[in-house]
């Protein structure tokens, strides 16, 4: 049965809650410890980006079942300023906020599927999927 949950990301305490919820979902899908850690870490990066750069937003968690495989899809959305140059943002070491600049690219490497849409002035949506 598909399970869907939506959480808001408005403070750094919410980022912790997102991590816990993602871990819970990952356990239900049957992810092993390594896969759990990967998706939770990716979620942590993206949730923090949503908060720090997007000015807060929401994340949707969905369990997936496709043929014989199961997975987890996370959709992060914000109505923030958007990303002007996505290729640049994905480059390791590039940051506008004083971080390490590895979060977005790292999240992409930790996921199996990664999709990013961003319109300057309107907001950003990032979808990641990890399959078991």
């Amino acid at each position: 049965m598909q399970k869907i949950e939506e959480l808001k990301i408005q403070s750094s305490a919410d980022v912790v809650l997102v991590r816990q919820a993602v871990r819970q979902f990952a356990i239900e899908v049957g992810f092993g410890l390594v896969d759990q850690t990967k998706i939770v870490t990716a979620a942590s990066e993206l949730a923090r980006n949503t908060l720090d750069y997007g000015g807060g937003g929401i994340v949707k968690l969905e369990t997936l079942q496709e043929g014989g495989r199961r997975g987890l899809r996370l959709t992060f959305e914000d109505q923030g300023p958007g990303i002007a140059d996505i290729d640049m943002a994905l480059r390791d070491g590039f940051t506008t906020g004083g971080g390490l600049g590895m979060g977005l690219g790292g999240a992409k490497r930790l996921a199996n599927e990664f999709e990013i849409e961003s319109v300057v002035g309107e907001g950003t949506r990032i979808i990641i999927v990890r399959w078991k």
Binding site: L33, T37, K38, D92, G99, L100, M102
Partner: protein, 283 residues
């Protein structure tokens, strides 16, 4: 609602204060299931005080806006009641019942005094609206005092959860448990640097076995702590890196090559001893 006709409630509160009080007391003592938590006399005194302040505030004629200045004393009193109820262990329902239980005596009185059904309807509406607002305010104040407790505990936990322990002459250990956010890092760094100065230690082991998720921000915080310790003349070893964390760090692309890392605290301790030129032998 007829707004031109002025409400009879202030007058009723004034002329029937004593009866209202005794009926309310009966109502409260009938519904009071927590006699052990609050003394009857104390409860009575609170009722008397509230009724007095309510009467004074109602004389202003303003029954709809309890945020107005004439309701200030009522608000203050209810806030302090909620606070003490929350500390005594009452539930929010029990706390709000203090206000809501006043409805019956007041409505009874209105019914006795007013005979025009339309007027009675209006007055009951006004009264219920007012008491609902006061009741909600009580719950809000209750909630707020609970939140204050949580906040204080969070702060206490933050201090408690970052102990720096001395393992050996010149070797410190810093076991981190939980999420390493910016505020936490600040506390960790301060206590670590302080301890390095106090003990003149040369090696500090930061153990992250208890950190559930290591993401780029956590890594950045760790690196900052390591750099700061290095500036103070102490070498840092990060221990407690579990296999799944190691894999994640690789995918994230975080460069930890400048930092000595070990899988367990025991390994890190042995390495620190070696650096100090000390060995442990079994007897």
């Amino acid at each position: 609602m007829d707004v031109t006709r002025s409400s009879k409630i202030p007058e009723i509160l004034k002329t029937h204060e004593a009866e209202l009080l005794s009926e309310w007391n009966q109502e409260l003592s009938a519904t009071n299931t927590r006699k052990g938590l609050i003394k009857e006399a104390e409860l009575k005194e609170e009722c008397r005080e509230f009724l007095k302040l309510l009467r004074i505030a109602a004389q202003s004629g303003n029954l709809s806006n309890i945020q107005a200045v004439e309701w200030r004393e009522v608000r203050e009193m209810l806030t302090s009641i909620s606070r003490s109820r929350s500390h005594k262990g009452f539930t929010p329902t029990e706390t709000a019942t203090f206000i809501f239980s006043f409805k019956r005596p007041l409505f009874d009185r209105l019914r006795q005094q007013l005979h025009d059904p339309a007027e009675l309807g209006d007055e009951i509406w006004q009264a219920t609206d007012l008491l609902d607002r006061l009741g909600l305010m009580v719950v809000e104040a209750y909630q707020k005092s609970r939140e204050e407790v949580i906040l204080r505990q969070q702060e206490e936990m933050m201090e408690l959860s970052t102990p720096v322990v001395k393992l050996w002459e010149g070797i410190l250990a810093l076991p981190i448990i939980g999420t390493l956010d910016s505020a936490r890092t600040q506390v960790v760094m301060e206590s670590l640097l302080q301890k390095i100065v106090e003990t003149g230690s040369e090696v500090a082991i930061i153990d992250i076995t208890g950190v559930p998720t290591v993401d780029t921000l956590t890594a950045q915080h760790l690196l900052k702590t390591v750099t700061a310790a290095r500036l103070m003349g102490a070498d840092c070893i990060i221990s407690g890196i579990r296999p799944q964390i190691a894999q994640t760090i690789v995918y994230l692309g975080i460069d930890l090559t400048d930092v000595t890392t070990k899988a367990t605290l025991a390994d890190a301790f042995l390495m620190a001893l070696k650096r100090m030129g000390t060995t442990i032998a079994r007897k």
